[in-house]
C-alpha cells in the first residue's frame, strides 16, 4: 500500500523499478502478455490488451505496448529479463489506447515506430482526447508517440534470422488495423481484428471488418494471437463467433432501418441474441449497434 502511494506521487522514479509483466513464450521467441477482461474505466484498465514481443537474432520487435506508459515500462522490463538484444521496432496494430499508450516507454531504445499508414493521422486526431481522458496513463501529449514508419499495404521487417510480415487493412475494427505474421513459426498476431471471448468493439466499419475476416480466413497460421483473449491454434474456429456477431448486427440493423425503426430501437434490440456468448457484452453492444446503424442507413 505504501509503495502504491509512493508510485502515485512519483510515477517516473517508480517506473524505473517496475515489475516485469508476465509473458508466455507461445511460440519460439514470441512472447505474449494476455490482457485482463476489464472495461476502460476500471482499475487495471491500462492492461487489457494482448501485448508482447518477438525476438530475432539481431533485435526485438515489440507488438503493442499497453494502455499506459506504466504498462509499457513493465513490458520493457519483461524484454530485459529475456534478452539483452536491442528493441529495433515498436509496432502498433491500431490506434486504440490499450495498444498504444505504452509507446513512450520505448523511446530510449530509439526504435522505428511502425503502423498502418492511417495510424499516424488517427493518433493526431486522438492526441488531445487521450491526454484529457487518460491522465493517469499518459502524463503529457509528448508521451503519445505515433509511428515514423507507415505501412500502406504490406511490409517486411528483418529481426535477424526471422522476418515479420506486416499487413495493413482498409477500415475494419478501426481505420488503422494492421496484422503481424511471424513466418518461421507460423504465428499471426491479429490485433483487434480478432476478439476471443470479449465482445468485439467496433470503431470503424462493420462491413469492412467482415471483409477483413474473410481475408484473414484465407490464411492458415499455426498460432493466432488475438487483440483480446487467449492464444488460439485454430484461426477459422476463432473467427467464427466474431463473424456471427458482426453479421447479426448488420442483418439486424438492416431490418430495423428497412422497417423505419429509429436508432434507439435498434440499439435496444439488435444483437441481444448474442448476449450470452460474450464477456462485457453490455458495455459495447449498444455502441456497436449505433455505429452500424449510422454506417448502413446511407447504403
Amino acid at each position: 500500500m505504501v509503495r502504491r502511494v509512493a508510485c502515485a506521487l512519483a510515477l517516473a522514479s517508480c517506473a524505473a523499478t517496475a515489475a516485469p509483466l508476465k509473458v508466455d513464450e507461445v511460440a519460439r521467441g514470441v512472447f505474449v502478455h494476455q490482457g485482463a477482461t476489464l472495461v476502460l474505466d476500471a482499475p487495471g484498465h491500462d492492461d487489457i490488451a494482448n501485448i508482447g514481443f518477438v525476438v530475432g537474432q539481431r533485435c526485438v520487435a515489440v507488438i503493442d505496448t499497453g494502455g499506459s506508459v506504466r504498462t509499457g515500462r513493465a513490458l520493457r522490463e519483461s524484454i530485459s529479463a529475456h534478452t539483452k538484444l536491442p528493441v529495433c521496432y515498436v509496432i502498433n496494430t491500431h490506434v486504440h489506447v490499450d495498444h498504444v499508450l505504452g509507446n513512450a516507454a520505448f523511446k530510449d531504445d530509439k526504435p522505428a515506430f511502425v503502423g498502418s499508414a492511417a495510424l499516424g493521422p488517427a493518433i493526431e486526431a486522438s492526441r488531445r482526447y487521450f491526454v484529457e481522458h487518460y491522465p493517469d496513463d499518459v502524463e503529457t501529449s509528448a508521451q503519445i508517440v505515433g509511428p515514423d514508419t507507415a505501412v500502406a499495404t504490406t511490409r517486411e521487417l528483418d529481426l535477424g534470422g526471422r522476418t515479420l510480415t506486416l499487413r495493413a487493412f482498409p477500415k475494419a475494427h478501426t481505420d488503422s488495423d494492421m496484422t503481424v505474421f511471424v513466418g518461421d513459426v507460423g504465428l499471426l498476431w491479429t490485433g483487434d481484428l480478432l476478439f476471443i471471448g470479449r465482445v468485439p468493439a467496433l470503431d470503424g466499419s462493420a462491413k469492412g471488418w467482415l471483409a477483413a475476416i474473410d481475408e484473414l480466413a484465407k490464411t492458415h497460421p499455426k498460432f493466432v494471437v488475438p487483440g483480446h483473449g487467449p492464444v488460439s491454434h485454430d484461426l477459422a474456429a476463432a473467427l467464427a463467433p466474431e463473424r456471427r456477431y458482426l453479421e447479426t448486427l448488420v442483418e439486424g440493423v438492416r431490418k430495423e432501418i428497412a422497417d423505419g425503426k429509429p436508432i434507439e430501437d435498434a440499439t435496444a434490440h439488435v444483437g441481444q441474441s448474442e448476449k450470452a456468448n460474450w464477456q462485457l457484452f453490455d458495455t459495447a453492444n449498444a455502441h456497436n449497434v449505433s455505429l452500424v446503424y449510422r454506417e448502413l442507413e446511407w447504403e
Partner: protein
Amino acid sequence: MAGSASAADPAPGGAWQLLSGHYYPNREFGEVDEGFMHVEAPMSTPDPAATPVSLHFGDAARGRIKQVRLFIDNNPSPVVATLDVGTAQPISEIDFRVRVDRATAVRAVAETTDGKLEMRSAWVRAEGGCSAPPAASGEGKVGDVRFRSADEGKSLQVGIRHPNYSGFQIDPKTGDPIPPHYVAHMKLTAGGKPLVEIESGISISENPTFRIVSDAPIATPVTLEASDSKDAHFSATWNGAADRAVAAAGTH
C-alpha cells in the same frame, strides 16, 4: 437504458441559470405534467456522438405549441435547435440525434400559442460527443437527402448527408480543429403547409437526422429546404409511400 426524467429540472443553477436569463429574461416556467410534454433520452448514452433525444407531446399540447427550443446545458454550444411547429399536422413526437460532450441536463422549453413557457428535461451521462471524429461511412455526397416513413406514413425520418463539423473535432492531417460547418436551417412542409422549421447548430450529430411522428399520416408531398453555415442550399421532395427510402439529391 432509456429513461425519461420526471423532475422539471434535475440540475438547477449552473449553465441553465445563464441560459434562461439570456433566452427567457424575466419569464416564468409553467408547472407541467408528463401529459403535456416530456423529454426522453438515454441515462447513459451508448453513442455520445449520436445520442437519441425524443420530445413527446401529449394531447394537451397538440396544436398549442408555437416554438420549442432544445438545450444541452453543458455542451460548448448549448442551444441544440429551435423549432417552429406548424399547426396543420398534429405532432406527437420529434426525435433528434445529438452530440453530448459530458454529463448534462437535456431540456426542452416549449412556448405555447397563448404565450406561456413549459419546460421538461432529462439527465444524460456521456463523454466526448462533440470532439468524436466522424464515424459514418464516407460514401455519398453532402446534401443528399433521405426520407424514410413507417407506421402507415405517420412517422417520417429525414436525414441530410452532411459532416456537421462541431468545431471541436481534430483534422488528422494537421492536428488542428476542423472549423465548424453545420446545417443551420431546415424547413419542412407537408401537403403544402408548414410542418416544422428548425434552426440548428453544432450539437446536432453528423448527417443530421430528424424524425417526426404524427397522429395521422403525414400529408404529402413533403418538401425540404435546407441551408448550412457556409450558405450551401439543399432541397428535396418526398411523394409518399411510393418514394419509400428514396434519396432525393440536394441542389447546391
